[in-house]
């Protein structure tokens, strides 16, 4: 019978382990994240690209814009680790500088569109009625379009350039956030602490800021981790199609597009920027997954 192991039971409180009751939200999230190896890897990669982007002039071995037609299509070697492109430009340096564009696109339009979404969402949910109807109708309209097509329409109107991509992505991206924030606001609006705040005469915008929005943070963090890689991929796609960044910018998407016709004799020109895109997006997705796992209990409410 006794194939059961003998088990000793803990009778002394172990003070070396963290007491979960007194941890702050951020401490708990960090602790969870640090246990997730994929998330850590993702974080390191993102950091690496960030540093690469910031210190590009020091990291890049060559001038990304320097044309040397006699060096066209050099195969990857010691001097040009990823070879050169159709204008003899060093692909590696172009990729390094391209990180600036991609990371900027990842963060800036995402944050802007989420800010717009947060403001409109909380106003919509809080005030209800006509305001809600108007804002949500607008959001539904935006969401009815396949996002890439809507972005293309905006780019048509504004003209193809990197700056306009920022604008286009901000316009396309706010509606999803707005919906989520509105839903949270609706469920929190009728809770007692909001009623209490109103009863003591606290101004509306303070209620929204101090009471409602902090409760949305878990959801917003998740959205952030989802939207950043989407922005990066959208810009890459738009630039690939020719309606985004224009030459001679070193947007990774544009680089892939330019390298397309030379796939046969110089595949590295198109493939390597794609690897960069993949790496960054993958890293954000790893981090995002880890964050979502860490936030799981908060999202259940």
């Amino acid at each position: 019978m006794s194939n059961f192991k003998k088990v000793t039971v803990n009778t002394e409180p172990d003070s070396s382990k963290a007491d979960p009751v007194t941890e702050t939200f951020w401490q708990e999230i960090s602790r969870s994240l640090l246990k997730d190896k994929a998330a850590i890897l993702g974080g390191i990669v993102i950091l690496a690209f960030l540093l690469m982007a910031v210190f590009a002039p020091y990291v890049a071995p060559h001038d990304p814009y320097k044309v040397s037609l006699d060096l066209q299509f050099t195969k990857p070697n010691a001097q040009y680790p990823v070879g050169t492109d159709m204008y003899g430009r060093d692909v590696l340096s172009r990729i390094i500088y391209g990180a600036r564009i991609s990371l900027l696109i990842g963060f800036v339009p995402t944050i802007i569109s989420m800010l717009i979404g947060i403001i409109l969402g909380v106003i919509s949910g809080y005030y209800g009625r006509r305001t809600d109807f108007l804002i949500m109708t607008l959001a539904d309209l935006v969401l009815a379009f396949p996002s890439l097509l809507l972005a293309m329409v905006v780019m048509y109107t504004l003209g193809a350039s990197l700056l306009n991509i920022f604008i286009a992505l901000s316009i396309v991206g706010w509606a999803g956030t707005a919906r989520v924030v509105r839903a949270e606001t609706l469920s929190l609006k009728n809770k007692e602490f909001v009623e209490a705040a109103k009863a003591t005469g606290v101004k509306d915008y303070i209620i929204m800021l101090r009471h409602i929005l902090p409760n949305c943070i878990p959801q917003l963090l998740v959205l952030l981790t989802l939207n950043i890689p989407i922005s990066i991929l959208s810009e890459a796609s738009l630039s690939f199609l020719g309606v985004g960044a224009q030459p001679p910018a070193s947007s990774w998407g544009l680089m892939v597009s330019n390298g397309k016709e030379y796939m046969f004799n110089a595949p590295w020109v198109a493939i390597s920027p794609g690897i960069a895109i993949l790496s960054v997006v993958l890293a954000f997705n790893f981090l995002g997954d880890g964050l979502r796992d860490a936030l799981d209990p908060y999202l259940k409410q």
């Binding site: 396949p146 048509y156 109107t157 796609s237 199609l241 309606v243 892939v256 796939m263 794609g274 997705n285």
Partner: protein, 306 residues
């Protein structure tokens, strides 16, 4: 449930109106004379004036919008500036190709994605789980255009077993469908997995076990149907993402579908063509969402019987 369907249908009408309005406004507020721009080199003011009159380009904006609505309801989206053919004709020609591609990609995504998600959930944290989830993550993170080019390079250029571009037969469908499908499959697999794990935490799963079912039966009979509910919702969103993805896939693989039409239109600043393709595509998306809504309400008894 009939009321539910009717309500949804009614809501679609203003939605269609709204997206037409937005599209019209965005594409028509651009300053500059499109006809003159097109003619650049052979600029002839008389010809420009005549064309503008023909196309009613000098009418007040709201008249032009109403004319668009009227024409659109009759299936007329105007004439392409560049190709000088009816936009509707061009769309009708191109749409079947996109449809084939999208359906093929959707099938790939379900056939691969759903079993992968189920297996991953059932064998959580095992090698199987890690493999499928890695595969899915890759599908979701790879830029479609890059994946497409890689496939072209490996299977087209190097191995020579599949055609690189064009759409003249089923073998042309294989690579684009797989590339587009991989992306979709990734989303489906991840969602199926998380949905199934979620469902398995419910009390009625405990009840099913307490009845004496094997774990497999518990999953197949009790968990799966419930976990499919959110997956069906995602399948609705798939219509939009597949069409967006098709735009890119068609460009890479030279598939003559609506996506490529739209890309050419925007590159050539062919407004009526772009307008027509965007409206048409969005219309399809709205239709798809409606269909998925109805499917969902049919599957979930909580909606069906209330």
């Amino acid at each position: 449930m009939g009321k539910y369907i009717i309500k949804k249908l009614l809501v679609s009408v203003p939605l269609l109106f709204g997206i037409t309005l937005i599209t019209f406004i965005m594409l028509n507020i651009v300053p500059g004379d499109p006809i003159a721009l097109m003619m650049k080199d052979h600029f002839n003011p008389d010809v420009v004036a005549r064309v503008r009159l023909q196309m009613h380009l000098d009418d007040p904006t709201y008249i032009r919008f109403l004319r668009l609505l009227w024409d659109a309801l009759h299936g007329d989206f105007g004439v392409s500036y560049i190709l000088n053919r009816s936009v509707t004709e061009l769309l009708v020609e191109a749409f079947p190709n996109t449809l084939i591609l999208a359906v093929a990609a959707a099938l790939v995504s379900w056939i691969i994605g759903i079993p992968a998600g189920v297996l991953s959930a059932v064998k959580k944290n095992s090698a199987v789980d890690n493999f499928f989830m890695g595969f899915s993550l890759l599908g979701v993170s790879m830029p479609i255009f890059w994946a497409g080019m890689l496939f072209q390079y490996v299977f087209g250029l190097k191995l020579g077993i599949l055609p690189v571009s064009g759409f003249d037969g089923p073998e042309y469908l294989i690579m684009p469908a797989i590339v587009l499908g991989w992306n979709s499959a990734g989303t489906i697999a991840r969602l199926t997995r998380s949905s199934l794990l979620e469902v398995m935490r419910n009390d009625y799963i405990r009840t099913a076990r307490a009845k004496g079912y094997t774990e497999l039966k518990v999953i197949l009979k009790h968990a799966l149907k419930n976990s499919m509910l959110p997956v069906v919702t995602v399948m609705a969103l798939q219509v939009a993402s597949l069409l967006s993805g098709a735009v890119i896939t068609e460009s890479v693989f030279g598939v003559p579908g609506i996506g490529r039409v739209a890309v050419n239109a925007i590159q050539n600043r062919d407004m009526p063509l772009l307008q027509g393709s965007v409206l048409f595509t969005t219309f399809i998306v709205i239709l798809g969402n409606l269909a998925a809504d109805m499917l969902y309400s049919y599957i979930d008894p909580r909606i069906k019987y209330n």
